[in-house]
Amino acid sequence: MRNKRALWVALLVLGILAVPLTLVISNELKLADEEYVFKFKCEARDPIDVMRGRYIRLTFNNTIEDSTSKLKTLPVGSKAYVTVTRDANGWGVFQAISESVPDHAAYFETQVMYSWDHFIRFAIPFDKFYMNEEDAPRAENVYREGIQGNTEVYAEVTIKNGTCLLREVYINGETMHNYLQSH
């Protein structure tokens, strides 16, 4: 009886530990992959998550023109795939949106937010950048104060085979963390 119970407890502990371990390993593998790193220009705001702390919410130009209007009838919340590419200056661009899995690797899975005319707006699954609780409001202020000047914010994201991972947020070429330390 005692051994049987010990077995159940061991299974529980191993099962529970497997989840965070899997999360760490899969994310480390994504970070190690440099080939599918894209840079997207964005804006920054500062909300709070009760368990994960403060973060800056990044907003992107997440609207795609669907010239065929095929996806217009998709209900809000439907699963969709967005392919990404780089423009002539090396910036990431959301290229196309489809209902089926694209045939090349640079795409991520998302949900349709709404559509109008030939346009579709989709959710961005890499819009949260967690920061120290003192730095996050400062980051927003820096962004807001610099918005009339030449402050440029961009996010570096790994996008591959439907998954994505926000690696870093840069402000005027420096990582957000370093920028806040030096200003």
């Binding site: 529970i16 530990l17 989840v19 994310n27 368990m51 994960r52 890499f126 920061m131 609780e133 991972l165």
Partner: protein
């Protein structure tokens, strides 16, 4: 073990204090990590993110090895394990800037917590889970609601609540069925009733108000069957929560403009014309027909259950039937039909008169049955109704003032009579 048992009270105190301690420590750990120690290198932060779950496991395994017979240890260590698991998941999400809302995190956390409930057979962990899944439903609906009714997309996701609830049905079955009036059963039933009643309104995709009213009335009827005429409200959780649910609903729909907006939102009227005869009325517009048909089956089932329960009670003793509680469902149905017909003012007057009569009925019953707490509920109904109406009723301050003073004076007079009543030979002070 019964409520009168001294050992029971000692155990209850120990469990309560241990739970408060666990909640406090867990909250502290979560807050400490939520600070975000991003000065540390990533590898340190990854190691740190495992600290809470390892701590939870350590306490849990220690309980298994050394303290298993202790209910206090078993319950407290299971809840601690659950919270520490949540903290670690949150930390990893933070380190890797993983997307997803707070609701997504709650969902994953609750699903992963299910085995803890079963391995430890912990009812406090089950209660935490019941609260957690209700919080998930609410969090998932935030920002996507209109008059407390979530958008269709949110409701579709929220229906996972019933599957999550099903996941702990075996635990509830084995722990509640044993003895319905047992303290552990009662606490579990309270948590279940609160969780279901809170979440239900966010899960009915179509005919939301009718669905929630039927659920509240079904819960009331189920409570009558299992906990009978128990005179202590806290010993009959299902019927108590059922009544509070019905009261809350009546207060909402009797507010100015609420029912009008609701019948438009549901599509009962289009361009202020009844649309009962439209082709898509029965089906809605999501394309998920089976959800609609299933919801009709569930609603008809609940209606059948309410009628059967009413007849059973009526046959047993017509004098013991609380006709007002059973009248809420037809009242709400009538209100919706009247609203669709365009008689907004009459509907609101009718609903408010019903609420006032309901409160009055409880006060009358209180005097008749010599149960003062019934009057407390009656005055609560009257006061809340009048308080809510103060803000949305177009009535002169002069008249409002007279009504409020009248109700207040009646309550004070009741208190005077109540304080002079003899209870078990002693003066009730």
């Amino acid at each position: 073990m019964q409520f009168t048992d001294k050992i029971f009270y000692k155990k209850l105190n120990l469990i309560t204090i241990a739970l408060l301690a666990v909640l406090s420590i867990s909250g502290g750990v979560i807050a400490l990590f939520a600070h975000n120690w991003d000065d540390f290198p990533r590898v340190v932060r990854i190691i740190l993110s495992f600290v809470p779950v390892l701590l939870g496991i350590a306490v849990f395994v220690y309980m298994e090895l050394k303290k298993y017979p202790s209910v206090v240890w078993r319950e407290a260590s299971s809840v601690f394990f659950m919270f520490m698991l949540g903290s670690s998941l949150a930390m990893i999400g933070q380190v890797y800037n993983m997307g997803g809302s707070f609701a997504d995190l709650m969902f994953n956390w609750m699903v992963l917590s299910i085995p803890i409930i079963y391995v430890a057979n912990s009812s406090l962990a089950a209660i935490t889970y019941l609260i957690g899944i209700a919080v998930w439903v609410f969090a998932n609906s935030l920002g996507r609601m209109f008059f407390f009714i979530p958008s269709f997309e949110a409701i579709e996701q929220n229906n996972w609540y019933w599957i999550l609830l099903l996941a702990i049905a075996p635990h509830l079955y084995f722990n509640v069925k044993k003895q319905l009036s047992d303290p552990k059963s009662l606490v579990l039933t309270w948590a279940l009733a609160i969780s279901v009643m809170t979440a239900a309104g966010f899960t009915f995709r179509h005919h939301t108000i009718m669905g929630v009213t039927l659920l509240a009335a079904s819960m009331y009827a189920l409570g009558r069957l299992y906990h009978g005429n128990n005179t202590q409200w806290w010993k009959r959780p299902l019927s108590s929560i059922g009544i509070y649910g019905m009261l809350y609903l009546l207060l909402i729909i009797s507010s100015k403009g609420a029912l009008r907006e609701y019948v438009r939102w549901e599509g009962y009227v289009s361009y202020d014309r009844p649309s009962f005869m439209d082709d898509d009325f029965m089906r809605g517009d999501s394309g998920h027909d089976w959800i609609y048909y299933l919801s009709y089956v569930v609603m008809l089932g609940m209606a059948y259950w309410i009628v059967v329960s009413f007849l059973r009670e009526y046959k047993a003793n017509p004098k013991h039937v609380n006709y007002f509680n059973y009248a809420v469902v037809p009242m709400v149905l009538l209100a919706i039909i009247l609203e669709v017909m365009g008689t907004d003012t009459i509907t609101r007057i009718l609903l408010n008169l019903f609420l006032l009569a309901w409160g009055g009925f409880y006060i009358y019953q209180s005097v008749k049955m010599q149960l003062p707490w019934l009057a407390l509920f009656g005055f609560l109904v009257l006061t809340i109704t009048l308080l809510v109406r103060y803000f949305d009723m177009e009535m002169s301050f002069y008249l409002k003032g007279l009504i409020y003073v009248g109700i207040g004076s009646a309550a004070l007079y009741f208190n005077k009579v109540y304080s002079e009543m003899k209870i078990e030979g002693k003066d009730a002070e």
